[in-house]
């Protein structure tokens, strides 16, 4: 959805909410991580077996254009007074895959995300040497609560 479409959607949501109604805007967080922009990193990848989790690499995202447009749209409706911001927080979101094929099936739904070659090699190695585990994708989500 383009920026103007997002602003229009926020106005539509404002219309269907009762006075004082709440909108939860939940989506991947692209803001800051340790003082640096969470640029290019969509998720952390690890391999989990028997309660132990081994960090493997990161999942990169080719484009953050939609997320940045969504941030701008939210800022705009706050600025114009359509909504007020009640709260903002981040939360972890984990996906567990039984194999690389399942992970890649999922990633096809996230158009621009990709597992780089070294990460893929390491995952394959771990799954051969320590079978029976799961691939874990850890993504950070942001929840904005907006009030009409």
């Amino acid at each position: 959805m383009a920026h103007e479409g997002m602003v229009h959607a926020l106005h539509e949501i404002h219309r269907v909410l009762i006075p004082g109604g709440l909108l939860a805007d939940l989506r991947p967080d692209r803001r800051l991580e340790g003082g640096k922009r969470r640029r290019d990193v969509l998720a952390r990848i690890s391999y989990r077996r028997g309660g132990r989790e081994i960090p493997v690499g990161v999942l990169e995202e080719g484009s953050f254009a939609d997320d940045e447009a969504a941030d701008r749209a939210v800022r705009r409706v706050l600025r114009e007074g359509t909504f007020t911001l009640d709260s903002t927080e981040t939360l972890p979101f984990r996906l567990y895959f039984r194999d690389l094929e399942s992970a890649e099936d999922y990633l096809e739904t996230r158009e621009t995300a990709k597992v780089d070659a070294p990460t893929r090699r390491l995952l394959n190695l771990l799954m051969r040497r320590r079978p029976g585990g799961e691939i874990v994708l850890l993504e950070t989500l942001r929840l904005n609560i907006l009030r009409k």
Binding site: M1, G5, M6, H8, A9, L10, E12, I13, R15, V16, L17, I18, P19, G20, G21, L22, L23, A24, D25, L26, R27, P28, A70, A73, V74, D86, S87, E89, L91, P92, F93, R94, L95, Y96, F97, R98, D99, E101, S102, A103, D105, Y106, T109, L141, L143, I145
Partner: protein, 99 residues
């Protein structure tokens, strides 16, 4: 989607429950996908109207909806840009990964 468990810890819905008056409310969810979050919300909400522009996603969401929630949830193909509801219809709306 086979071979994947998404947020089995339910952190997402637990956070929403802490922040929103979902219990007993009529909830609008925009961008429901295959209804993963819808099913979790519907277990506490009075009713959920769930929209997504993806026809296949809505068909899958309908298939995956347990019979016990069928009276509470309505899935529709649609987007947030044109909501088929009257003004002041919902106390709570959620855009899940869709803004």
């Amino acid at each position: 989607m086979k071979g994947v468990r998404r947020d089995p810890e339910h952190i997402e819905v637990r956070t929403l429950l802490r922040r929103l008056p979902l219990a007993g409310s009529r909830v609008l969810e925009i961008g429901c996908g295959d209804g993963r979050l819808t099913r979790r919300i519907a277990s506490v909400a009075r009713a959920v109207e769930a929209l997504d522009p993806d026809t296949e996603g809505i068909a899958r969401a309908r298939r995956l909806l347990p019979a016990r929630l069928a009276r509470k949830v309505r899935f529709r193909v649609g987007s947030g840009e044109r909501l088929p509801f009257g003004g002041g219809s919902f106390p709570v709306a959620i855009t899940s990964w869709s803004l």
